[in-house]
């Protein structure tokens, strides 16, 4: 009797194991690698993934996180390993081109509905198109500008309009210093926050045509007059000693927290700083919205760039060459206006998809969204647009200009040399 019971149990266990084995085999796991560090934003992503799993039995969305700098450093190796994620974050630009040329990406041509493409719009589709094939889904747009602390600015007798021009901006910095306030927070250790200064001055001084010519190495390339001038104007700012003490040893998160704690009047950063300056502040609340202002980068008189030109990003998700169809299907759903509007409502980012951004309630994000819409050249972050090698040099020269270790001419020559090396 005991033997029979044991045998029955054995068969039951084996059957259960086989059944679970079968169900496991039917399951598809989609590895989704992201760099989102703000807990509230991650919670929204997790909720979306969980919802998709519920409505699509057999699909498991496995979210993985890497910190921004670690992500950039590890991605090349990761994409060529067995542990490559199916879906991963992309800033587009030259880095995307390298990945596409190397054949590590899956084209999603034909796997995205025309309706979704239309809603994402031409700029978003183009940002992730290489050789006529679509490789990714644009998710959000961002703009770099000065976040300002209105209370500190008014203590220095300033209003945002005083910083509309570069000259006005420089004199504002002097006034803020004279009022005993640190003018600008800067995370120099990460380098990329510093490159916004040189890059945005290039956007203002050189304009789209000269930039495109320089990246192709035409004429004097990056050593031509507007690029040298950008360095000189940045040095004009640096000579005012505008950044917090120790900015070279401060990373982005700490600088965002420094601004969020009300210790500096300005912070040149993308719109994501709205969340990051709050989450990195001591109180976790940062500066109250009514005390916060977003100021467009100052206009430079006589520059070839249009005042409406913006610097920022069109970021999205791309797919590893081995990504299953389920991964693309998940992203088609995730990028729908219905899902994206949740991120707009909570001011996580500005969705690119039409209908997603229409539910933006945050006044800053509304303004930024309008800025980008009216921009004729939305320049992508130079450190991404120019690829890891040239972009890295742009970060380097910006940092060295900020510490006075390089002249404007030397900085421009170094970028030019990097472009020549990369050709």
């Amino acid at each position: 009797m005991k033997y029979i019971v044991l045998t029955k149990n054995l068969f039951f266990t084996l059957g259960l194991a086989m059944f679970s084995g079968l169900s496991a085999a039917a399951e598809t796991t989609v590895d989704w690698l992201h760099i989102e560090a703000v807990p509230a934003n991650v919670a929204l992503m997790e909720a979306a993934a969980a919802e998709y799993e519920t409505t699509h039995p057999g699909i498991v969305i496995n979210m993985q996180f890497l910190e921004n700098e670690a992500y950039k450093a590890k991605l090349t190796t990761l994409l060529q390993s067995d542990a490559a994620p199916d879906i991963f974050y992309s800033w587009g630009g030259g880095v995307l081109t390298s990945q596409q040329e190397a054949g590590v990406l899956r084209s999603i041509d034909g796997a995205v509905s025309e309706e979704l493409k239309r809603k994402i719009g031409g700029a978003g589709v183009n940002a992730f198109t290489r050789d006529g094939m679509l490789y990714g889904l644009a998710e959000k747009v961002s703009q770099v500008g000065f976040w300002g602390n209105k209370k500190l600015l008014s203590q220095a007798g300033l209003v945002p309009a005083d910083m509309a021009t570069w000259e006005g901006f420089l004199s504002s910095v002097e006034k803020i210093k004279a009022a005993g306030i640190t003018p600008i927070a800067l995370g120099g250790q990460d380098k990329w926050p510093v490159h916004f200064y040189w890059s945005h001055l290039v956007v203002r001084l050189a304009g789209n045509e000269a930039f495109n010519a320089a990246r192709l190495g035409e004429g004097d390339g990056f050593s031509s007059a507007p690029f040298v001038k950008a360095g000189e104007m940045f040095l004009d700012l640096v000579n005012l000693d505008p950044f917090q003490e120790g900015f070279l040893a401060t990373d982005y998160g700490s600088a965002a927290g420094y601004f969020g704690d009300g210790k500096a009047a300005l912070h040149l950063m993308g719109n994501w700083d709205y969340s990051s300056s709050k989450s990195n502040s001591e109180s976790g609340k940062g500066i109250a919205d009514d005390n916060l202002v977003f100021i467009n980068f100052p206009v430079v008189a006589g520059g070839a760039g249009r005042p409406s030109d913006t610097l920022g990003g069109i970021n999205g998700w791309i797919f590893h060459r081995n990504a299953p169809d389920e991964a693309v299907a998940f992203m088609n759903w995730y990028e729908s206006p219905e899902v994206q509007s949740r991120f707009a409502e909570k001011a996580v980012y500005i969705p690119i998809v039409a209908g997603g951004s229409s539910r933006l309630e945050n006044p800053f994000f509304k303004t930024i969204s309008e800025n980008i819409s009216s921009s004729q050249w939305h320049a992508i972050f130079f450190d991404q647009e120019l690829g890891a090698d040239v972009g890295g040099v742009v970060n380097d020269i910006s940092l060295e200009l900020s510490s006075g270790a390089l002249s404007a001419q030397e900085a421009a020559e170094l970028v030019k040399e990097a472009v020549e090396d990369s050709m």
Binding site: K72, A73, T76, T77, L79, Q80, S98, Q99, E101, A102, G103, V104, G188, Q189, D190, E245, G246, F247, L248, A249, T250, Y258, G387, A388, D389, G392, D396, L399, E400, S403, A405
Partner: protein
């Protein structure tokens, strides 16, 4: 005679069995994780390669020329030499001095030894992060101490002048306990009779240290010097969490230079050239060490 032969044969066969069982896996692992990456790095160094796909753009020795003419390479070399020199003239004498004071066996001395050894047991990245907080100019311990004495101390990690001394303090703090342990183990192996006999002959404490103890632990000192030099050349994982090579690339060592300008810039060929140069430097130092070791053995 036959019995001896049998014993010899059985010893030989058991040795063969041990070699057959244990040597192949070790050799395989050594080849896979040590030799193969070295060969790969050597291959990379002759190509212009961004890490994706196949290497096709053969550039000969261009990467080596690029490394030697890179404007931050000399800084990295200078910093690596600073680390070696400070390790040899500050860290090792300090470790020896502490070891001489802590050779006796008692629980209090053991507790102090553990205290000094603790930093070595901490992961390098964790140590780097801890010291980054210590040095932080806004919230760290250094400005707090400065405030106590009414001094406005600089943001050491953001200052090109102070950053290397700050890093060297962490390096000495982190590794001197390891060298101290090597010296203590060697000092404890010195026969007590030798020291006692010297004392009975009226030889002073310092002369005993200088003429008896130090010569008797010369082998330990040599291995400690060897570890110190090789470790200094490979210093990386303290640098990155502390400074990331900054400010303005002023605190790069050779390995952090390799990582920054080779790996993160996706210039694997450039990185390969730096790693080959570093490997050659390590080989030269190892050969010099072996030569010194042989000279010492023949002297003894």
């Amino acid at each position: 005679m036959n019995v001896l032969k049998t014993i010899g044969r059985s010893k030989f066969s058991s040795r063969s069995v041990v070699l057959t069982l244990f040597l192949p896996p070790t050799l395989l692992l050594f080849f896979w994780f040590v030799v193969s990456p070295m060969i790969d790095a050597g291959r990379f160094s002759f190509y212009d390669w961004n890490g994706y796909g196949q290497m096709t753009d053969f550039v000969g020795l261009d990467n080596y020329a690029d490394v030697l003419t890179h404007r931050h390479f000399s800084t990295a070399i200078r910093n690596s030499i600073i680390v070696i020199v400070i390790s040899l003239i500050v860290q090792l004498p300090l470790a020896l001095w502490v070891a001489l004071a802590l050779t006796e066996k008692s629980w209090t001395i053991s507790a102090i030894r553990v205290l000094f050894f603790l930093p070595f047991m901490l992961a390098e990245v964790a140590s780097g992060l801890i010291w980054r907080f210590v040095y932080d100019g806004n919230y760290g311990l250094v400005p707090a101490v400065g405030d106590m004495f009414g001094a406005d101390l600089p943001f050491v990690l953001g200052d090109r002048l102070w950053v290397m001394p700050a890093i060297m303090l962490v390096v000495v703090w982190k590794y001197f306990g390891f060298h101290m342990m090597i010296y203590i183990a060697a000092l404890q192996s010195i026969s007590k009779e030798v020291i006692e006999a010297a004392r009975l002959d009226g030889i002073g404490k310092w002369k005993i240290i200088w003429h008896i103890k130090i010569p008797l632990i010369r082998s330990a000192i040599m291995i400690s010097v060897f570890f110190s030099v090789i470790g200094s050349l490979q210093l990386f994982d303290l640098i990155f969490p502390l400074t990331g090579g900054g400010p303005s690339h002023s605190s790069h060592t050779v390995v952090s230079f390799l990582y920054q300008f080779g790996i993160t810039r996706q210039k694997l060929g450039f990185g390969g050239a730096v790693s080959v140069m570093l490997f050659m430097a390590c080989v030269v130092i190892t050969l010099l060490y072996q030569r010194a070791l042989k000279a010492q053995e023949s002297h003894e």
